[in-house]
Subunit: 308 residues, 3 copies
């Protein structure tokens, strides 16, 4: 199987074979970041532009590092410094960037669907780096790579996804990815933070953290995104933490070799206890390292590789 898409907009539309091909490519590129000279000339003379309409440290830097390690040139357009303040439409901004002949646009936007809207209108490739509460496909891909490294497989696993499911594009992308590849997903969170349609996606729903993690191979904790919630969906952070914060005692309910994941940035002491975040089951920093590898793979496949 190859990956021959112009854009990467979401996991929902990918074939299992495409996902696995991206992961295999990432696994083979991962070694570059551990060399003394962390750079290959593959994308020399290519132009990668990031357009981030929401603040982000790790995702933007991860893409930028991925591009530089492949020798591409990178340019960052950030909101504050952009024409957005001058009232230009997103489409006009994107067409203007495209006229400068970038090879790929990487976009994060608070509006769900913004990358799809652009992808339809632009000749150049578009990667969704997170759109509203819709999808964050590169996060799901790096999560899959991390799970596969730890478990040796992506099928037949029990995965618990815990927290604010309603607003989480990370959850949505991972649910698509894990169910496509044959794992079983249980989501848990306060009733106010679990959307009603979830069972149609083939996942189990519970309102108990204990139940979700029982027998789990993988526990994926979500960030409480206070900045995205607008209003409170639970009474207090302390109450949230009491019922849905992952502590060492919960790990005893899971498989012995359970891994704990978090997309970051973490609210320590809210959704995850420091003991768990820094403990032996945590693969949180492996996730970050795999983020660079997965993004290198996508840039390679979409810009430099099989498209030529």
């Amino acid at each position: 199987m190859e990956f021959r898409r112009k854009d990467l907009l979401g996991i929902a539309e990918l074939e299992p074979g495409e996902i696995l091909h991206i992961l295999d490519t990432a696994a083979s590129l991962k070694e570059i970041s551990t060399r003394a000279i962390k750079k290959v000339p593959t994308l020399r003379g290519k132009t990668v532009v990031t357009m981030f309409y929401e603040p982000s440290t790790r995702t933007r830097m991860s893409f930028e590092i991925a591009a530089k390690r492949l020798s591409a040139d990178t340019l960052n357009l950030t909101v504050a410094a952009s024409s957005a303040v001058k009232g230009e439409t997103l489409e006009d901004t994107a067409h203007n960037l495209e006229a400068m002949e970038p090879d790929i646009l990487i976009i994060r936007h608070p509006a769900s669907g913004a990358p799809h809207f652009l992808a339809k209108r632009l000749r150049c490739g578009v990667i969704n780096a997170g759109d509203g509460i819709h999808e964050h496909p590169t996060q799901a891909l790096l999560d899959l790579l991390t799970i596969r490294e730890a478990k040796g497989r992506l099928s037949g696993l029990k995965v618990a996804i815990v927290g604010d499911i309603l607003h989480s594009r990370v959850a949505r992308s991972n649910i698509h990815a894990l169910t496509k590849l044959g794992s079983r997903v249980t989501v848990a969170g306060p009733a106010t933070l679990i959307p009603p349609y979830l069972e149609t996606l083939g996942v189990e729903v519970t309102y108990s953290l204990e139940e979700a993690v029982r027998g789990a191979d993988v526990i994926m904790m979500l960030r409480i995104q206070l900045e995205r919630m607008g209003q409170m969906f639970f009474s207090t952070l302390r109450e949230y933490s009491t019922y849905f914060g992952l502590g060492l005692r919960h790990l005893k309910l899971a498989k012995e070799d359970v891994i704990v994941m978090h997309p970051g940035p973490m609210n320590r002491g809210v959704e995850i206890s420091p003991e768990v975040a820094d403990g032996v089951h945590s693969v949180i920093l492996q996730q970050v390292a795999n983020g660079v590898a997965v993004r290198m793979a996508l840039l390679y496949l979409m810009v430099g590789g099989e498209k030529e």
Copy 2:
């Protein structure tokens, strides 16, 4: 004719031969941006610094892409993060940057004349990327390149420049450029937005959009820069749009092969209708592409090329 200036501060001081030499160089470099490997080693080991004291997406990115495609290193100094907040003078900031041995400083500043002030005091080259309401020479150069591509010539054309002439450095640079090269410029806009001295620059003035575009080869719409105006010079945006917004019906008054230009970012539905902006006469995205080519030409001529 060659281009042997240390600085590019405005169109006013350029000879027609210099302008044409820049355009010819841009035309020959333009092809680089369409290659699979969009990069030549011409400016390897050169340092290009942008100092933007006003927000801008396209101009800064256009310069940065131009520099990278010539293999120069680029550094961006933006206002918010700069020592400006610490009360340092512009001259001290510039001298400090110069001490780091950049090959060229690209400056945008709200004060008319700021780049000239620096150019006199610095050894390194200075490019004016827009100074107050004075000049924006690289915009005029990219406009000329776009007109020449469409019309095959720069003389004997009728060019209408429409909108807020008073505050527009784009208008000022284009008026200098077009009249030097033998085209006839008509400006149009509300009486409050047309400065009294304009006729001394050799242009015709009208207060009617219809009159300005009649028989025009080129229509150049200006952005209503609400953020730069400080106070209102017309009653409402709706009234402005009624009298000076370019619609399809105006194009019928112009030459059949008229081209429509806009420096961006556009206020769709204010100074230009979406039908015109996206229509067959629009060359707005060619302008953006030519921006990269013109800036590559300047960097090549000033940093890498004929100065050695």
Copy 3:
């Protein structure tokens, strides 16, 4: 003597031999910035990340230019765009960056000790680019290089450091450096801006500018950092300037070949008169040029050089 440290956190912990080795390396690398092609391939494929939690023009750009001239890739994390707003701890942010395999992290932080905190927890090298009121070691190193270029030696000199000693990490790093290398330091400033423990560092204290500069080989003026002071430590800027602003008349009290230094950005007319800042004794712009050289030396020694 070699320089084999993982981190550069402060001058306090360096041996004189290490300091001199850094200066010798800087002196030999300085010539690169004056070449037509200002770039050597030494750090190709290395990744240098700056994390600036305080605004800065010259220090960040100086590091970035230094890295690029050695062919390293650079990435900038600035506060506003960072996860700091999302409540992530500094340690988590740093661990996340480290997981992306940078070769070195350069950090500026308002909390004294922040770089030390990180250095202990990270495998990758950490350079302190200024921490609170504690140290700013690269500033002291560039000051030493500048003094040595002017005086031919670093021992037996009389150095006056004048201004807000209390809040100055520049003063603290220079006091450590100069006393280690055998020069005599006199500090001067308003009594409210001189901390009580200073004499234990082996410096002389005076409250008179005249007394401090009498017979001085070097006068180092400090910036009045209004943005860092929180409250006023003197009645008015005018009063400060009257008693502690360096004018031409003070230079007559110093050695004939005295040099005047300032770390920038300068408040002209407050701590230093324009006549002195721009006069023949001023080496302020040499300091900036030497900043690039010293940072190239550190990156070379810590990332590319003797560690391999």
